[in-house]
């Protein structure tokens, strides 16, 4: 009991950090170069708004070389702790020759396999890769791993057009409406769904044939899903990945009693998330009953916290 309390105190007083590396690849033309750099810098700003525990590095323009990218990821492998979160956000052009996905960078490109090797060295248990490039779907099977959320802008390497995904992903980071569970934070799953919806709307409203179909994999299945849900099992880890953490987190000043309540709240939230993913395997009535009880307990706990 004492140990648990100590752990909780530690957890709340020294919260885990969120590390991000944003890479804007080779534009190939001045307008793309400018666009990629702008998306990268605005994405950095949006992530930084997450608070002092967010550490963002951006590589763009001439700096975004394969060597620089390797070195930065190697350095991060030593800085990032297992309880921290780590995210790699890739903007730009990608190519797929039928065998290999390559992220286009000034100088030599980097393959999905090389990226996977570098990412595997990062000790963070919760990782996120958002590959927003064209043909990014081809990178998914190589990057996918248990504990890593992989989002790609396209479903395969054959979707080769310039993607609109980064524009809407950036919007997701800034638009409060993306926080659909109204938790005050933005999960990777919420950002994915928001971006996906906006991308679909874009092609529909412009009456264009959709040239990109975003995918998400967070189970290491390497197949990914376009509609992550309890049915296909994808999305649970993504829902727990805090892309933008809550703006007002627990404070050191919280009393032990309040800390207990906060811990209970976190536990209930985790149970609710798990239950959602068991829905398909449960009788409907049982699911409803259990969910209602958990939600009621959570509401009561929150009321006590707010008292």
């Amino acid at each position: 009991m004492r140990l648990l309390s100590l752990f909780l105190t530690f957890a709340f007083t020294l919260p885990a950090a969120n590390y991000y590396l944003i890479v804007a690849g080779l534009g190939g033309a001045p307008e793309y170069e400018k666009q990629f750099e702008q998306w990268a810098s605005e994405t950095e700003r949006a992530l930084q708004a997450g608070g002092p525990n967010v550490h963002v590095e951006t590589l763009s323009g001439a700096k975004a070389t394969r060597q620089q990218l390797s070195e930065t990821l190697t350095k991060m492998a030593s800085d990032v702790q297992p309880d921290d979160t780590f995210g790699l956000l890739m903007i730009g052009h990608g190519t797929f020759d039928g065998d290999n996905y390559k992220f286009n960078l000034p100088g030599p490109d980097i393959t999905a396999g090389e990226l996977a090797t570098l990412l595997d060295r990062i000790p963070a248990k919760r990782q996120l890769v958002v590959n927003m490039t064209s043909a990014s779907g081809a990178s998914l099977p190589l990057l996918a791993r248990k504990g890593r959320v992989v989002i790609t802008a396209t479903k395969s390497g054959n979707e080769k057009n310039l993607t609109v995904f980064p524009r809407y992903f950036l919007d997701a980071l800034r638009d409060p409406e993306a926080d659909t569970d109204k938790s005050g934070s933005l999960s990777a799953l919420e950002a994915f769904r928001y971006t996906q919806r906006k991308t679909v709307n874009y092609f529909e409203s412009e009456k264009l044939l959709a040239t990109e179909h975003a995918m998400l994999d967070d189970t290491g299945s390497k197949d990914g899903a376009r509609d992550p849900s309890a049915t296909n099992g994808e999305g649970l880890a993504a829902s727990a990945f805090p892309l933008i953490p809550p703006s007002t987190g627990p404070t050191v000043a919280a009393s032990p009693e309040k800390q207990k309540l906060l811990a209970r709240k976190e536990d209930l939230e985790a149970k609710i998330d798990r239950l959602k993913y068991q829905k398909a395997a449960m009788p409907e009535e049982e699911y409803k009953r259990e969910m209602a009880q958990l939600l009621l307990d959570l509401a009561r706990t929150q009321a006590e916290i707010d008292r």
């Binding site: 409406e177 569970d181 609710i272 209602a292 939600l295 009621l296 959570l298 509401a299 929150q302 009321a303």
Partner: protein, 716 residues
Amino acid sequence: MKWWYLFCLLPGLATASPLDDCRTFQHHGQRQETEACFERLTHSDDAFLRAEGFWGLGRLEDANAQFKIAHDEHKNSPEVRVEWGKLFVAGQNTQEAANLFQEALKLDENYAPAFLALARLAGGFDKRSEDLTRHAIELNPKFVEAHEYLARLALEDNDPKLATQEAHTALSLSTDALDAMSVLASIDFLNGQTQSDWMTRILKVNPIYGEAYATAAYFFIINRRYNEGVEFYREALKLNPDLNDARSELGINLLRLGDDEEARQELVRSYNAHFSSPETRNALRFLDTEKDYEVLHGPHSIVVLNKKEAALLAPYIQPELETVIATYQKKYKTTLPGPVRLEVYPNHDDFIVRTLGLPGQGGLLGVTFNSVVAMDSPSARPPGEFRWSATIWHELSHVYVLYMTHELTPRWFTEGLAVHEESAHESDWSDRLTPEIVEALQKKQLLPVLKLEQGFLRPQFPSQVMVSYYEAGKMCDFIIEKYGNDAILGMIHSFSIRKDTAAAIEDNLHEKPEAFDKEFSAWLDKKTGSTVAHFADWKKSMQAGPDKITPVEAKRLEDDYPEYTGEYSTYELLAGLYSNHGDKAAARRELEKYRDMGGHSVATLKKLAGLEQEAGDNKEAEKTLKNVDDIYLEDEDVHRKLGTLMLNQGDAGGAIREYQAAIALKPEDVAETHYDLARALMAAKRDKEAKDEVLVALEAAPGFKPAQKLLLQLSQ
């Protein structure tokens, strides 16, 4: 063997040609002889005769191959080209057919059969068809088929006198002119005779001539008398079960009447017999989508909705339909014998295939077949393009008028009354005086009442159908204003006992049609004269570009043509100008005029609701958003805003419907919308449902504090 061959050839030698022999057998319904005759033709040395032989046996591909050879062999024969073209018509390839008919005319510019073939290709409702047929007759006054076809065209044009005259001309040239007699029999049947002497004569010539009944069926269908049409198609098939085009038509019309099962059977039978018109294929394809629809039963109605949008539409469409039925039951003093079936299609092409058989008719919004109404869903068209609720009022008026007149109403009357009913229900739904109509008024293109039917059936200029709708609607407005609703009921009765428009007017309005026209014209002039007088100026200013219009000019244009609510209406222009100067109250006034004048741009009306809400006038904002609901139901934002306004005004029932609509549209903010619905349900004292909804909200957003509070409140 040799003897037999000689014997078989003898009849051919006795008449003009072996092909004529076969056609004579065919004309007289001598099946075995016909078949044997055509079979013999397939062994002819002449490719043209072989082609005709194969065609007569129904072997279209072989016929086509032989025609191809004949085309090369008979380089100067217009007949070969016309016959081959007809084969293409049978195979639904109208372009190739037209090319061949033209080729025939290049060889002989006076070849009458080519003109008749082109006339048939143009179709009865195209003015060119009549012109081409008349030209064929000029070239060959003894051309029986052309006279027969002209008789048919005249009857299509609702001119039985001319039809009779032309049919008799054909019969004077050939006493066996079956199609002429079919037209005459059709006239008898349309006039209510159950038997026709012409039918007896036809059957004496050809005992299996089902085409005669099929002709009658066709005329019943185009006169909206679907039940009788179907029965005549059945008669046609009894005489000759091989009439696959008639079978397909039977299937298509059964489909119109909502008898999907029998429709499918007939269409499949027709298709399996290698009759594959685009209409047949479309109808079969359409029937395959049946599983996508949900059937909802109301006290006096059956509503068929696509499953994808049933949850959204049902709470609006079903009550509206029941309201319309209750209103008309009282107004028309009539109870329908059974429920009205309303089918709503989210895909416009499905709706058109369901009603006309072929996609591509962009303008239609709804069609009535007796007590079956099919219409576009609000989602089938871009927001603001039509008012779904007005379409229901319009079409249901047809249901009543068709029933009360035993489907004997002229089109101008039923359409006019339907247009009138739209504005009788809501004044701002009235048929707008669009620029095309003003132009027609200016050019004095409105038709006298006795000719108004032509405006619907044989339009002489592109917008004439639309102009005729307007004119007919105004005529009914005028009749009701001057003579009262009973005069309309009286006219309905007159039509039901087979009186024509002239008699219906004289019996019920007690004046001659000419006097009626004069009075109506003066009445309409009072209403539209000023707009017509200023139209040229208005047009000039609008053509110069809306950005060049000054506020003073816009005000003047608005006064000159107040009914204009189309693109760049002066209401919207002025509202924009006022908004730019920060005068929101003036902008709001302009947009309220736009709304009340029937403007239906969803974006503009939403803007107005925003201005009204900003000014704290929630009642007006609610009115505006309800107006949007009547136009377009696919806007989640509108439902949520209207729901909140209604809830704040204490209308929990209305709010529940709006929030449920927002949920049916799969809102982006699931939690907030279900929470809103929970609040509305709680206000309606439906706590259990409210709790269910708040739990759905919290399932999506477990930490959503207002929903948590509501849950605790509901759990006490």
